[in-house]
Assembly symmetry: C2
Homo-oligomer: 449 residues x 2
């Protein structure tokens, strides 16, 4: 049987990973799927650079700057889109689908924002659209949730799905360093971009969370409704207090099914989160990723591995490709639908606003050290029916205490039980209005996953 030919859109880190994995493991892959699979074409902007990279890796690939010729090439069955960005990736993918090509993409931004359009086109043209490389790099978590847990009603998905952020928080925890200091190291090591915003402000994690939520709950992609908070404002002091209370600070993407007065709704959120140190997720360090899934039949299962990198991400694309090779020539009713649920069976589940999210909270209040302050604060929480799990009152700040004219300031750390965020925000506004509380309260969410 003739080999299956794969065309790449883009030949950067991930594209080269795909080509290398397919070439190096060609025999192994042929033994698995019964047919030889090879990358024959790659479309790039800088042809000379890509040709040099291909020659360097000993890969025999036709490099072109005419992407349209690749997505319409009659010999190519499968396209791997690894160029990134929304355009021209979107138009090229739509064209590839219209030409009957299956697609695997590592482009989470593209899928999170335009996935509904792309999946509809894939359904129309009866081809597969995979995005395993878009989420958590080398971890086959899309397959696990979409197929491995297909018998389950999924309650929640919570993951460390941005390696850069986890690298920074790990170093802040283990080495007592500040955010900016570690960010510079991450940039020097190539873990963070020159403009780190996508990673540290949570946009990248929100893209991935959008995909995970849709395959978990069978709902259309709703990137615009994800609550997104980054880790730029995490202070060393809060990492230390959290540790003292038995918690690690992790940047998590969380999608949770809720039942509100008999109706299903979901929370979609990316934010720094305190989680108990004894939990496996708290022990995922550095650039590694992990996704914890809670589902009705299995309970908790966790998927761990490298969240980025040339060959890990390449491996995920190749897994998609092998699924597609197996499906070549079969009726599309035999295919696994991209969002795990049949295209006509998606359910438009509403996403809860920030006020309706329920979590525990870590509050660091800086208050003047004088009688009655603690009673005032406790009174406010009590009035709002917020019950507290722990209180940590620290010694006055030494620098501040040395200034005789200023009032002595105390950091007071409170951990609340689970509460609706709107209620907590109202209580915090009241605390911040107290005369004895001169500065803003630091608020972080807490999860006992």
């Amino acid at each position: 049987m003739s080999s299956v030919k794969v065309g790449l859109l883009g030949f950067g880190t991930v594209g080269q990973g795909i080509a290398s994995v397919l070439a190096r493991n060609a025999d192994e892959i042929t033994r698995r799927c019964g047919r030889r699979v090879e990358v024959t074409h790659a479309a790039v902007r800088d042809v000379a650079k890509a040709q040099a990279a291909a020659a360097e890796a000993n890969l025999d690939i036709q490099i072109t700057d005419d992407a349209a010729s690749v997505v319409s090439h009659p010999d190519i069955d499968i396209i791997c889109e690894v160029m990134g960005g929304e355009q021209p990736a979107l138009d090229l993918c739509l064209s590839a689908l219209a030409h009957g090509k299956h697609i695997s993409t590592a482009n989470k931004a593209l899928v999170a924002v335009h996935g509904n359009t792309l999946f509809a086109a894939a359904q129309k043209y009866k081809v597969m659209f995979g995005f395993e490389p878009s989420v958590a790099g080398g971890i086959p978590v899309i397959k696990a949730v979409r197929e491995g847990l297909a018998g389950n009603r999924i309650n929640s998905v919570a993951g460390i799905i941005n390696g850069t952020g986890n690298f920074i928080l790990t170093a802040m925890t283990d080495q007592g360093r500040d955010f900016n200091d570690v960010l510079q190291e991450a940039q020097a090591l190539g873990y963070a971009e020159a403009d780190p915003s996508f990673d540290v402000d949570g946009v990248d994690a929100a893209h991935k969370l959008t995909l995970l939520a849709s395959i978990a709950f069978g709902m259309p992609l709703k990137f615009d409704e994800v609550l997104i908070e980054g880790i730029r404002n995490i202070e060393q002091e809060d990492v230390v207090h959290a540790n003292e209370l038995g918690y690690a600070v992790k940047h998590l993407g969380i999608a949770r099914r809720r039942n509100i007065e008999g109706k299903t709704a979901v929370e979609l959120r990316v934010h720094p989160t305190l989680i108990p140190q004894r939990q496996l997720l708290a022990n995922v360090h550095g650039v590694m990723n992990a996704v914890l899934v809670d589902s009705d039949a299995v309970g908790q299962s966790l998927y761990y591995g490298p969240g980025a990198g040339s060959e890990p991400t390449g491996s995920a694309a190749v897994a998609d490709v092998i699924d597609m090779v197996r499906a070549l020539g079969s009726d599309p009713t035999h295919q696994v639908p991209p969002l795990a649920f049949q295209g006509n069976a998606l359910e438009d589940i509403p996403v809860l606003g920030a006020d309706d999210i329920e979590t525990g909270f870590y509050c660091r209040i800086t208050a003047e050290d004088k009688p009655g302050v603690m009673a005032d604060i406790a009174g406010i929480f009590g009035k709002h029916n917020i019950s507290l799990e722990a209180i940590l009152q620290k010694e006055p700040d030494a620098d501040n205490a040395a200034d005789e004219n200023a009032a002595t300031l105390l950091p007071i750390v409170l951990l609340s039980h689970q509460v609706r965020e709107g209620v907590m925000r109202q209580a915090i506004a009241e605390v911040e209005a107290l005369q004895s509380v001169p500065s803003a309260v630091v608020l972080l969410r807490v999860e006992n996953l």
Copy 2:
């Protein structure tokens, strides 16, 4: 479209889990695979008992003691074999395959011992044979290795794949209790059978390891060649020493690809193992399971979850069933082969004997406290080129020291670097032959996964 009908062989814990999951999540599952899936028949020995269980769970299932009628029933497309044991399970599965039924089985003993026969029959009759519920309960690890990592050359698989053993070792570590004491608790809790041999002696783990190794390396099942050691002889003292050295004691199944003079061979082994406490596997506690896979493109990935139980294992069977529902009516060339590799592409990789395995070792030597003993012992290891990573010399045993007539005995704990097991065994034999070493050396393997 009419519903897909599933017949069960057996209606115990797992069978009831499958039926419950399929019934409770019927809508969700239909949304995923496009067709309704229902358990219609179950074959059991004790019809009245099964009828009572079905009624209790509100399940409308035809119960019969005529298993042959289920495996040949014209309305049934898929059989879930959850009766356990080798016979009549083997004959019934072969009959079901001959009748064109797809099969999912939770019976690891059956597959480990008779898998080669069963897979050949499945290939002959062009149906699928799944065994996701046979390994690690609710964790979709078969799918992850077989499909999610399909682009990888897999180097090793190492797992905590017996929950009973992990429960016992966890309690021995956390609570300082002895093996027999914890075993009794495990039996009282229903985690261990009245005859715990399958679990604590490693046979169950060896069954599962056999399956994992075959899908990882594309080799026929070789249960007979697995090196199997259980945890009955693990002493509290060694758990304490290991902890002091920074290691946890876990009962692992390990399959590792080795390259010996340019030829591929594999290690297949189940034994108590010291692993560094900081590793995720060391933090898998109680009855939970986890499998760590090392592969060339991804590097390390880990899969964690409940390794047993009615609904977790039921979930795994349902995932197999949904794969089969999707494949109904399609050409078998589109199916994922049971062992991940095409039936005609399996490679008969030789399994290394115990002497050729390479690991680190923990050795606890009880020696008389007199000059020159340490030099004698160190001399023996040096002669065999075994380099040592750590030495822990403990205070003399207090009880023993009180007896004036006896020589004072010292426990000496050594950790070696990686060494061929045959070499280590020879060194240990020489140590045991020393006059100053009156009793057998305790030897445990060490892995830095």
